[in-house]
């Protein structure tokens, strides 16, 4: 079977989105378990629980940005390169980096949000700001994964 350079690049983009979707689903579910338990005790914290449980969702959109970049910008340029096969494999590798960044940061941001949610009752909701701040540290890794993927695609002259 002859695998074309373009299809390897598309595989990279699809892997990035798959990592984002998986990370977001697991992270939101982690925060969701604690959310259900907290709301069973005190339903007044619904707003804070929804805010904290929705934080890992951004992975999906980062992954989608990478897929769109690969499909619209990288694909037309890949056959202008001196060695299209190597470039296709490079794009697949970049997709793999961002898939790892999105899935791990999504899962573990879910853990941070879950810890924040379970402390909501004890602190009467005051932990919200601080736990968002600590969750943003993990978010930063996903953003850096997105930025470094775009940076390395630019260095490869594919964008």
């Amino acid at each position: 079977m002859n695998i074309s350079a373009a299809s390897l690049a598309i595989l990279g983009g699809a892997l990035a989105l798959a990592g984002g979707l998986g990370g977001a689903a697991i992270g939101m579910a982690m925060a969701g378990y604690s959310g259900v338990a907290t709301l069973a005790i005190d339903p007044k914290h619904l707003k804070s629980v929804i805010i904290l449980a929705a934080l890992p969702m951004s992975r999906v959109f980062y992954g989608f940005i990478i897929l769109i970049f690969v499909l619209t910008t990288v694909l037309p340029k890949i056959y202008l390169m001196p060695e299209p096969g190597g470039s296709g494999f490079a794009v697949a590798a970049c997709g793999l980096i961002s898939a790892a960044a999105f899935s791990f940061s999504g899962i573990y941001q879910g853990h941070v949000c879950s810890a924040g949610i379970s402390a909501l009752i004890k602190t009467k909701g005051r932990i919200l700001t601080n736990s968002i701040m600590l969750a943003v540290f993990v978010e930063l890794l996903a953003v850096l994964g997105l930025v470094f993927t775009i940076l390395s695609l630019s260095l490869l002259d594919l964008m």
Binding site: I3, A6, I10, G22, L39, M57
Partner: protein, 159 residues
Amino acid sequence: MLVDPAALATLGGTISLAGGLVGSSWGMAVAGSAGVAMLAQNPRQRKNVIILASLPMSRVFYSFIILILIVNTVSPSLNAIAEPEGAGFAVLAMGIMASVAFAVSGIYQGSVCAAGIAFLAKTNGKILTNSITLAVFVELVAVLGLVFTIIALNILGLM
């Protein structure tokens, strides 16, 4: 080995359906085992348990939509584009991406529903609305996986 591009595309569709089936059966089983324990304690919660335990079923329909789209719309247009083999591989990559979204979100939505079911007796069924809200966050990932697969197939000119 020469694999027909239409065969690769159909494989992508069936992989996405397999992911959806696995995700829903696993998720419903996780929610169902919590439901059996809850109904043994308090049989009056049967309606709420059935509602929460059936939430992960939607994956089956989302992934079936993708299989139908690939078999009906994508496969006939594969041979019309410049490089059919690469396009077949691209559809396979999209199918794997959708399959990850459906399987992971189904399994973890089942855990959120199980947490909701476990608190039904303690809260007299009042946790139902809140746990559906938190389960819908995870549902969103599956919906976005469906939508982004369709958008990506559109950008590739296959639909």
